[in-house]
């Protein structure tokens, strides 16, 4: 219904405006309805202004800026209506190290609401996870689980998984 959509939009928009400067270290971001008068059909536009820059057209954004903006919207939805779990497959591939750290910090904050499963090649992301599952194809073409390393245990004891 119209009322419900409007309430959701306003709530998600508020989270978006709050998260944007956190991920971009400043700047302003917000959501806008393309057709305010027709809540049943209207689209949702993203307005993004990284710190010090003029408003940018989404197409002109850099690879990393697109990822950060997408993640901001994703987590704004999360904060409004958390999903019990969240699966992210190499979302940080385009990010530089400083932005990876900001992203994983935010993920850590969101664990109050949800459980995260992150597929990654990034050492920074690995170092903040609670547990690492190693998948391998020692036998070519056949996937197996090899080891589980726990973060809090500095020795990173490797328990071979049967």
């Amino acid at each position: 219904s119209r009322r419900r959509f409007r309430e959701t939009f306003d709530a998600v928009n508020a989270h978006f405006q709050e998260l944007f400067p956190r991920l971009f270290r400043g700047g302003k971001g917000m959501l806008q309805l393309t057709d305010d008068g027709d809540l049943l059909e209207t689209g949702v536009e993203i307005v993004a202004q990284p710190p010090g820059k003029k408003l940018i057209n989404l197409e002109a954004m850099s690879g990393g800026e697109k990822t950060l903006t997408a993640v901001t919207l994703l987590f704004a939805l999360f904060l409004h209506r958390p999903s019990p779990f969240c699966l992210l497959d190499e979302v940080e591939a385009a990010l530089d190290e400083a932005n990876v750290i900001r992203l994983v910090d935010l993920v850590r904050d969101l664990t109050k609401h949800s459980q995260f499963i992150l597929i990654t090649h990034n050492k920074r992301t690995m170092s903040m996870a609670d547990v690492l599952y190693g998948v391998t194809m020692q036998e070519p073409g056949v996937s197996k689980l090899v080891s589980v390393k726990l973060r809090q245990d500095e020795a990173l004891q490797t328990t071979a998984v049967a």
Partner: protein, 168 residues
């Protein structure tokens, strides 16, 4: 409805029975290129009722069944079980009595497809209803596949509306 356990057998490159337990807040899955990491995401989507073979990087649905390798023959079926923790009571009321909910999907080479909840055969609709209420449905913002994070930004404003509707 947190994920507690994922069990795969005969699903894509996981020909042998493999169990991943997810007991922590942040679980990372790592490994070399092509070793099967994204296949675990496909397994979760498939188990939750995904109907499009293309969305699972295949041409037809039997592409999810282990297709053989240099050392192993084709597998006769694919089976994935996803066990959720229901202690937060997010599942619809008919499941309130269960502390854990195990959803199973099975597909044999001759095309026989089955869904089970806590080992009891159910219809696809029952599986979809289970997830709709909890915000974890396969279409929602809870799964971002490899290479698709930028699409949220470059998609059309009407498509972004669908994301908001999932959260309504």
């Amino acid at each position: 409805m947190k994920i507690r356990k994922l069990e795969l057998q005969g699903f894509k490159s996981f020909v042998d029975r493999t169990v991943l337990t997810f007991e922590h807040d942040v679980n990372a899955v790592v490994g070399p290129n092509g070793c099967g990491k994204s296949n675990t995401v496909d397994a979760i989507r498939w188990c939750m009722g995904e109907q499009s073979a293309r969305h699972l990087r295949g041409k037809s649905m039997d592409d999810v069944i282990f297709n053989g390798s240099d050392t192993r023959p084709q597998h006769p079926f694919a089976e994935v079980t996803l066990t959720f923790d229901n202690r937060d009571g997010l599942a619809p009321p008919e499941f309130a009595a269960y502390a854990e909910i195990a959803v199973t999907r099975k597909l044999t080479r001759d095309g026989n497809s089955e869904y089970l909840i806590n080992r009891t055969p159910v219809r696809l609709m029952d599986v979809t209803n289970l997830f709709l209420g909890s915000g974890a449905g396969t279409k929602a913002y809870s799964i971002v596949e490899q290479g698709r994070v930028g699409l949220i930004v470059t998609s059309k404003p009407e498509d972004r509306r669908a994301l908001l509707e999932e959260a309504a």
